[in-house]
Symmetry: C2
């Protein structure tokens, strides 16, 4: 794997970060494509072509692969080679991918396009999209539990449980439920700042924070290191979401003149709506500083993770 | 746990089986209710009330709990106490429960009732039903990976991977995809006997067979024992599905006079349709004999598993 040898020491941190992110994206795409070939694995009976095609459509249309990057780079802090964290990274990306397929469904956000391509239920049909999401989620745990993920089965079991808790009723899926409720579907909802923060920590933050935590688990971080990385992961996750909401506000306004932003149209719960753009920008910048500050004890080794935190905020705003 | 002390040696096998099945059902219901309380676990942020209510609606409306029974009784062959297999049993039941929620959705089988109660998307709404299914599936892997499932993390990781493969693209979800295709949704499908068998082995058989395999994993069965139990599990799973299809044919016909059976109406792929009722009955009985025969080396210890095989066939036909 070429990517293993890109250390980035000869580049400025932002350029090194971009290069590593691109290398992770290539490796993740390649590994996920291999996971989704048509050969049944031990314990499987057959892999139906239509379902596999829908799963590939969902997973192999590009994407920054930021979550896998966080797993791999956090593990790298502890000297774990690229390949040693790739399975856990792919497991996390599979969960992210499934969540997009289900979020796009007509009964959820009802989106026709994702990254310029038809969403899975548009390219196939609704039933196939639901099943493809189910199968991707299931595959994620298969991959996390696989012997090639880590030599220590205790680490594999911990990765499975950590991923499940970040993704489930008390994490991402719970956050999506709260997000739908915030639209007013199930009656009026009081959306104070604290609730919006919690909703976003669940819906977006939990998976990003798990990426960092998974790297710490694989790297056998000490309790103190793990706490520092936990602070980094949570702050990064929150900054990512605020930056995204600001981006939505600004790009919609630019593109459509007077038209209000897409999130606002949908009545989505965002911190931008709760705080206003000015305070939201300040919050984003403070979160990035918190994330970077949490890495102090790791010194120069953590330069790429610091660049990742700056990147989440720099996305056009 | 009272159930631990019910050995059934003073009862005939069929009565002992029914008593153990009922005891498993009580214990599983109790444990799943506890898993679905509103306390966030370590790594979770909050558990939204609406989502939890939908998950409880799906899981706590009764059911035979045959899959958990297979885990617990197979593990018992190897001296594993009831409590030692209960987590794995519940993980499997959570996967079964999620699959019913998603199968009932409007874009799938579009069912309004399940066990006399409104299906989750009828009692709540479609978005909530999709999310509840997602959260149940995710929780299953949390439970299987949990330290309380087994003291050996290697066993926990193996349970996670085995469950994922039985449930995913090459197992249950793949079978559901093939079942939808068999209705002719995506163009004409040639449904020869071999394809129907494979479809059913995936859609229904894989989870039942996993129940037996999970018990063997927990009980640290030898390779030979595991092979014998594999034969038992696959034959039992196939017999179960044929018996179910026969039941559907007979009960519909009895109840509605000339009206064709429900499965036939939906164009479902069944062995009854492929073979005719007479040959299907013969096949079912042969499968039960195969299942029972596979347990020969376990002697009297396996009497309850033999009764379970007879039970799958005896369901009114």
């Amino acid at each position: 794997m070429q990517a293993t040898h890109i250390t980035g020491t000869d580049l400025d941190p932002q350029a090194a970060f971009q290069r590593r992110l691109a290398a992770v994206a290539v490796a993740v795409e390649e590994r996920i494509a291999a996971l989704l070939d048509d050969t049944p694995r031990r314990g499987e009976i057959a892999r139906p072509a239509r379902l596999l095609a829908a799963m590939r459509h969902a997973m192999l249309a590009g994407g920054k692969r930021l979550r896998p990057f966080l797993v791999i780079e956090t593990a790298a802090l502890f000297g774990v080679p690229f390949a040693g964290a790739l399975n856990a990274a792919c497991a996390l990306e599979l969960v992210h991918g499934y969540s997009l397929v289900h979020d796009d469904l007509p009964s959820m956000d009802d989106d026709d396009l994702r990254r310029g391509q038809p969403t899975v239920h548009r390219a196939f049909d609704e039933a196939t999209a639901i099943l493809a999401g189910d199968a991707l989620l299931t595959l994620a745990f298969d991959v996390a539990a696989d012997e090639t993920s880590h030599s220590d089965p205790g680490v594999r079991a911990a990765l499975v449980q950590g991923l499940a808790r970040a993704a489930g009723v008390g994490g991402m899926v719970g956050g999506q439920m709260m997000d739908l409720a915030a639209e007013g579907r199930y009656g009026e909802v009081l959306l104070d700042e604290a609730r919006v923060r919690r909703l976003q920590a669940m819906k977006t933050g939990a998976l990003l924070a798990f990426g960092v935590d998974a790297g710490a688990t694989i790297g056998r971080a000490t309790v103190t290191e793990r706490q520092a990385l936990g602070t980094y992961g949570r702050a990064l996750g929150a900054a990512f979401q605020v930056a995204d909401d600001l981006l939505d506000l600004e790009s919609s306004t630019e593109a459509l003149g007077k038209r209000a932003a897409k999130d606002a149209d949908k009545g989505k719960a965002t911190l931008v709506a709760a705080l206003g753009p000015e305070r939201a920008r300040h919050e984003r910048d403070t979160l990035v500083e918190t994330a970077i500050g949490a890495l102090a004890s790791f010194g120069a080794r953590a330069e790429i993770l610091r660049a990742a935190a700056r990147f989440t905020a720099s996305r056009k705003s």
